[in-house]
Amino acid sequence: MNTEADDKLMADAARLAKAVAPERDLWPAIEASINAPRERQPMPWYAQAAAVLLLVGGSSAVTYIVTKQETNVSPVATNGGLVLESASWGGEYEMSVDYKLARRGLREQLAEELERMLPEARVEVEQN
């Protein structure tokens, strides 16, 4: 394409209509849309991320504080190096009588079983 033809092409292009009237009035639909009560905007992604972080952080902090609370409950049993500690989830937790009885039964059963074991086996069990 030579320069003259190219110039004519560009000149013709500049003469093409820029403003074209729509075949129908588009305003009523626009007006209806902008006058409509605004729908609640979905929460933006960064706000969602912040909410998740806050939730996870808050829940972690609560867990940390609770687990770090000093407990008045002393270790419940010491048996040949095997130390049973109080539950990790609560320093103030009061165990029921049934639970205590069941726990005592299990402890006695464990002691009996350990007594019956060969020394090597007992060491291995206690290590585990």
Binding site: A5, D6, L16, V20, P22
Partner: protein, 200 residues
């Protein structure tokens, strides 16, 4: 304004400049009122700009109903973003930018572009000018047949007079890409028009 209408002057450039200034002042007033949520003022802005925005959408999409949807969406977006308009650029440029973004967004979202050429041939009347001798009609139709990238650059640069910097900014492409697409569009148009017996 009355003075402008009665002024006896053969140099119309001064009058035109003054009219333009009055229109811009008027526009600024409408913008201010529209920013304060005055829908009547926004309607005035719509009436002032709709033809150009529609022309732009029609040339970019090549489809009447798609262009109508784009215009509506663009003006709704303009209403929602109006408070952010600081007047750094002309209101029309700001509006065109929104319209171009709307067109691109809709094209990306839908797959209508694939069917565009056929649809355009069926429904889009090529916009013409009064002294059209037929050659412009051919050119208009040929522009509509250009591939998307080349067409968008050609429409913004050659028809609407935006610089490569402005067009590339609107389209989200590099300036070099804009220049290359314009070159490609020119070559394709010249080839098309030659085939159709019209020497560009």
């Amino acid at each position: 304004m009355a003075a402008l209408l009665t002024a006896e002057s053969t140099d119309y450039s001064h009058s035109m400049a003054a009219v333009k200034q009055v229109v811009e002042l008027d526009e600024a007033r409408w913008i201010k009122r529209a920013k304060a949520a005055d829908t009547r003022a926004f309607e005035a802005l719509y009436r002032m700009h709709v033809d150009k925005v529609y022309g732009l959408c029609l040339r970019m999409t090549g489809n009447v109903s798609e262009a109508e949807d784009c215009v509506q969406e663009a003006f709704i977006q303009a209403w929602n973003k109006l408070k952010k308009f600081r007047g750094d650029s002309a209101f029309s440029t700001w509006l065109h930018r929104i319209a171009v973004n709307t067109v691109l967004g809709r094209m990306r979202k839908s797959k209508r572009e694939r069917d565009r050429i056929q649809a355009a041939a069926e429904v889009a009347p090529p916009p013409v000018v009064i002294d059209d001798d037929g050659s412009l009609r051919d050119l208009s139709a040929a522009v509509g047949r250009l591939p998307e990238g080349a067409r968008h650059v050609f429409v913004l640069n050659a028809i609407y007079g935006y610089s490569h910097e402005e067009a590339s900014n609107m389209l989200g492409i590099a300036v070099g890409t804009s220049k290359a697409q314009l070159h490609r569009a020119r070559q394709m148009l010249a080839r098309q028009l030659k085939t159709e017996g019209f020497e560009a």
